[in-house]
Amino acid sequence: MATVAGIDMGVQNVKVVILKGGEILSYGLAPSGFEPEKAAEQAFEEALGKAGITPSQVVHVAATGVGVELASRVDSKVSVVSADAKAAVHLYPSARTVVDVGAEESRVIRCDGKGTVLDFAINERCAAGAGAFLEAMARALEVRLEDMGRLSLEAEGTVSISATCVIFGESDVVSLIHKQVPKHDIARAVYDALAERITSMIHRVGLEPPVVLVGGVARDVGFAAALKRKLEAEILIPDHPEMAGALGAALHALEKVGEA
């Protein structure tokens, strides 16, 4: 069985998955910062170390992500959309709709049982449509991003953030704070706002349950809860949602060496 690797050159983090046959051997992750090539090497080394293998034992490396040209060793490339679909179907064979919310971009993909992309929509170039929105709102709320999710689950009332822009949203949050609206209610409103936009994207490509949620933002319990509320459909979240792109790339690498 061949050992392959998938690299996802994300805007915030580089993710690596090492796969042997269909089994995940290890993961690697490093912040992209301003030197993504170095981050890619770091993440790759971490994954190799954990799997206990050397670079030469990796037969094929496939890469995906925004900065894909910058990875040092790339044997083949695959689009993020394809990678997401492959990963989702690998993890959940019944998956037909994949939602990937990243730091700067979000994508919704409809696929078939083989992971072939049927339709997709990408939300890019506007921070309000991705994780950057949550980051900025957390700053305005003066809570840590990692705590905002749990905070939102304590919400008692509903308020709404009408701003459709990260910059204006910050002002909205500040004025809600001044109006003495409790932080957990504001936090929930933040997630509701993003979930509403993502839900519209899902309806744009057509909702076919079950929906698989991947990407870094999938780890956020606040977002997952809000999306469930807005979508009113079953949502499946894998254990390592941020690794979906890298997993999909690794599966693509497997196909390339003839072991699909």
Binding site: R125, C126, A127, C165
Partner: protein, 299 residues
């Protein structure tokens, strides 16, 4: 940033009366009240001539702000609110001017006001405020022919400028001049989105770009965006730029270069009361006169 008052190109509250205009012999006195998110303006007109102008900060209640700014503007003039035959209210969002006889959109009032201030040659108005951008086409009478109003995206608004001013630690009023201190105009930042443009600006700084060059790159992108909005409604001369950003020479000079039309210069408003910032209130007062006369004709 919490608690800080949002101000672009600092302005002070003021009120003035135009000495040549005499309310005692007035046939009709009308008023326009423009309640914005940051400032509230009142203009009182005597037979269609600007008589009194007042600009003050909008308080927490827009209802109160409307009443306050009108009273404050009239203080000491001898004219009382009851002497006013017709009041038109306007402003941002769901405006509340309780004593208004009618409410008109800020778009219509702004165009009418610009026509009064600059004259009948004005055809295109670019209003760049703290939180929104408007592009308006009008005819020789200041009637709106087409318009678009963007308050969805901060790119190009004063708020968007503030983000960069904070990042580069440059006072907002100096950003424009600083952005022109470059030998060669750099490429614009590749992202219009202010959040991403800010990250891009950080990258540029790390690459050793001086602040002025980063500013130039950012301003160019914002100017391109404003020109896109102008081109959407169709930009024709004469062009005027109003709003806080009209004082940003970094933006104005770039818009002029990109669109190929030189905007009309701002008027000498400290003398004649025709401050572009009160264009909306002027237009509202003019519409008040027109609607009043219309109601007389119908009676």
């Amino acid at each position: 940033m919490s608690g800080r008052e949002v101000e672009y190109w600092r302005w002070s509250e003021y009120r003035l009366t135009v000495p040549e205009v005499k309310p005692e012999n007035a046939k009709v006195i009308t008023a326009g009240i423009d309640v914005g998110s940051v400032s509230s303006k009142a203009v009182v007109m005597v037979d269609g001539q600007v008589y009194a102008v007042g600009v003050m900060r909008t308080g927490s209640s827009s209802l109160d702000s409307a009443r306050k700014v009108l009273e404050w503007t009239l203080e000491g003039t001898g004219v009382k609110p009851k002497d006013i035959s017709y009041i038109v209210g306007t402003g941002y969002g769901r405006v509340n001017v309780p004593m208004a006889n009618s409410t008109l959109t800020e778009i219509a009032c702004h165009a009418k006001g610009a026509n009064y201030i600059w004259g009948s040659t004005v055809r295109t108005i670019l209003d760049v405020g703290g939180q929104d951008i408007k592009a308006i086409k009008c005819d020789e009478k200041g009637r709106v022919l087409s318009f678009l109003m963007n308050d969805k995206c901060a790119a190009g608004t004063g708020r968007g400028m503030e983000v960069l001013a904070d990042l580069l630690k440059i006072p907002i009023e100096e950003m424009g001049a600083a952005s022109l201190r470059v030998d060669e105009e750099p490429e614009p930042v590749s992202c219009t989105c202010v959040a991403f443009a800010r990250t891009e600006a950080i990258s540029l700084l790390r690459r050793g770009w001086p602040k002025e060059k980063v500013l130039a790159s950012y301003m160019r992108a914002m100017a391109i965006r404003m020109c896109n909005l102008l081109e959407r409604v169709g930009c024709e001369k004469d062009l005027v730029i109003t709003g806080g950003q009209s004082k940003n020479i970094g933006i104005v000079s770039r818009v002029e270069k990109i669109i190929g039309i030189k905007p009309l210069p701002p008027p000498n408003w400290r003398e004649n009361g025709l401050d572009p910032m009160v264009a909306g209130a002027i237009g509202a007062a003019l519409y008040a006169k027109a609607l009043y006369e219309k109601s007389l004709n119908r009676a």
